[in-house]
């Protein structure tokens, strides 16, 4: 067990180091940043000043060392757009994005898992196919288009929910549904596959033979075994949703981290872009690490890997 945990921690750390390097290189290797920061009307002198101020005139490895050193002290640089430390900006914006992601995940699980169970129980029937079709539709729906359609009909024509902003909890509902829509098919298919396998197994037949009620067998015996991969994938989906918030927050004008990133990208605020990429990647690494460790804790077979 300790060997497994150590191995998994080393892997997570190696991935983190590579991701740190990538998020640094991402904004450095594509063009001259000093020119884009100085703006279209800048003289050569202005560009030189900017270059010196941000340290772009130094060799790349030195820039990286300085940036990484600051990073370890929790200093993510300064946003030139907001003239504010990036770390403070992120701290202000992250709660909105995390809440949105949580709403999306809860909705996706609440819809995807029961649909998956229903499809497994009705395996091979018309209902199974219908649920499969729902999954296909969800998978093919462009999320930005779904967002616009909901704004038109749910927001404006039927006046059920606000179309932008975050005056109260209602502002989270539409964006949450849109985020959930792309994850429902994934969770549904996985739940269905796990349940089909579990329902065909010997322990379910034994439990039925003992005279346990169908509901008890379904939820206590089968679902428990089918749930493990679902938990892992739900963690991964949560990570994807935080990434997808860039599109959704910019459409619904929710001032979270995705909106911040979107603004930073379109205006060349590279310190913010770097920090958001790094933060999202770190959250993803931690989520998958926790999911793997949890699974190993529950299922001893996995510890050998």
């Amino acid at each position: 067990m300790i060997r497994f945990i150590l191995r998994r921690l080393v892997l997570a750390f190696a991935v983190f180091l590579i991701v740190v390097t990538v998020s640094f290189l991402l904004t450095r290797l594509s063009g001259d940043l000093a020119v884009s920061i100085a703006g279209p009307n800048a003289t050569a002198e202005d560009v030189a000043t900017v270059r010196a101020r941000y340290g772009f005139d130094r060799p790349l490895p030195v820039q990286f060392a300085v940036w990484f050193g600051n990073l370890l002290h929790g200093d993510l640089g300064t946003s030139y757009l907001y003239r504010e430390p990036v770390a403070d900006l992120l701290a202000k914006r992250l709660p909105v994005t995390l809440t949105l992601g949580a709403v999306g995940l809860v909705l996706a699980v609440l819809v995807g898992v029961p649909l998956g169970i229903a499809a497994a129980v009705a395996n091979g029937s018309v209902w199974d196919r219908l649920i499969g079709l729902v999954g296909l539709v969800g998978q093919a729906m462009p999320s930005f288009w779904l967002a616009l359609l909901m704004m038109i009909w749910v927001g404006v024509y039927w006046q059920l929910l606000p179309i932008s902003g975050l005056d109260d909890w209602q502002g989270y509902v539409m964006p949450g549904i849109v985020l959930a829509a792309s994850s429902v098919p994934v969770l549904m298919r996985l739940t269905r596959a796990g349940m089909v396998e579990a329902l065909a197994s010997d322990y379910v037949r034994t439990a039925r033979a003992k005279g346990l009620s169908w509901a008890s067998v379904l939820l206590k015996h089968a679902l428990r075994n089918a749930a493990m991969p679902v938990v892992t994938v739900a963690a991964v989906q949560f990570g994807f949703m935080l990434g997808g918030s860039v599109v959704i927050e910019s459409i619904f004008a929710l001032h979270g981290m995705g909106f911040l990133a979107w603004e930073a990208i379109s205006k060349g605020d590279f310190a913010v872009v770097q920090a958001v990429v790094l933060l999202l990647a770190t959250i993803f690494i931690l989520l998958t690490l926790i999911a793997d460790l949890l699974n190993a804790l529950i299922d001893p077979r996995l510890r050998i890997a």
Binding site: I18, V19, T27, S30, Q139, P142, V273, F284
Partner: protein, 281 residues
């Protein structure tokens, strides 16, 4: 193999295949069947509604956009962009992913560990954010979008190629080829690849759908295909100001996008059943 196929898998292959085939055909024939030049502006005939709505113009069956360009013509040319970007992305990402996956799966050991670390890194990096950043810093163009997506969407190819390579690695025919003195490239390309190809084709359909959706999302956000090219995502973005008064301006390109992706996914499902059926025997 087809004798063992379930009716629903057959239906999936036929429906998905014919919709995708029809879209490819329409895209190829766009210059001949489009009623107008998709770039031609006519400011006198802006925002004409489609044929089913009142006030539609003859000659513009799907209406016109905010610059008076024929919507049907732009839709047909837009299919070319979606399919072109999707196809190039899948070829590029397929080569990267299959190369990495086969190398790791066949060699095992430290090389396999390295491949898995690279795949995990790629999964950890937020996809849309990085794609947007790269396009923003290198400029919006068709080529940039294709390269960016191609360099980002290979991880599923890698995972599937790796697993399937591991499964065939110790089979007799590989062993036999090795004993006959076949070179490593020969074994990988002539012995391993044909055996894992069916699984890769399934991944290909999945990635094609994802690439088309991502291109539309990037173009929608203004960091994909540059105007005046008629990308479906860009058409939706350009029509956004009008959407509350004339929902069809975003419904038409959206339905086209949704239908194409749905057809590809249905085809992919059918192919998956076909591959699974072939192995069950």
């Amino acid at each position: 193999m087809s004798g063992r196929l379930t009716p629903s898998a057959k239906a999936a292959l036929v429906i998905g295949g014919s919709v995708l085939g029809a879209t490819v055909l329409l895209a190829l024939l766009a210059p001949w069947i489009a009623p107008h030049d998709p770039f031609l502006q006519n400011l006198d005939q802006r925002l004409a509604p489609p044929f089913w709505a009142e006030g539609s113009l003859s000659g513009h069956p799907l209406g016109t956009d905010q610059l008076g360009r024929d919507y049907l013509s732009r839709l047909l040319y837009g299919a070319r962009i979606s399919l072109l970007i999707g196809a190039v992305t899948v070829i590029l990402s397929g080569m990267i992913g299959v190369g990495l996956g086969m190398a790791g799966g066949y060699a095992g050991g430290w090389l396999d560990d390295a491949v898995m670390i690279v795949v995990t890194c790629r999964l950890s990096i937020p996809l849309i954010l990085v794609a947007l950043t790269v396009v923003a810093l290198t400029g919006t163009s068709l080529v940039v979008v294709m390269l960016t997506l191609g360099l980002l969407l290979w991880e599923r190819f890698a995972v599937v190629a790796r697993t399937t390579t591991m499964q065939v690695r110790h089979r007799e025919f590989i062993e036999a080829a090795r004993l006959c003195g076949a070179s490593l490239p020969h074994i990988l390309l002539r012995e391993v690849l044909p055996n894992i190809l069916p699984h890769l084709v399934v991944v290909m359909t999945l990635e094609l759908a994802i690439a088309i959706l991502l291109e539309a999302a990037l173009s929608f956000l203004g960091l994909g295909v540059p105007p005046p090219l008629p990308s479906w995502g860009l058409m939706i973005a350009e029509a956004r100001d009008q959407m509350f008064f004339m929902p069809w301006v975003i419904t038409i390109p959206g339905v086209a996008l949704f239908t194409l992706v749905l057809a590809i996914n249905i085809l992919g499902d059918g192919l998956r059943d076909l591959v699974a059926g072939g192995h069950a025997r």
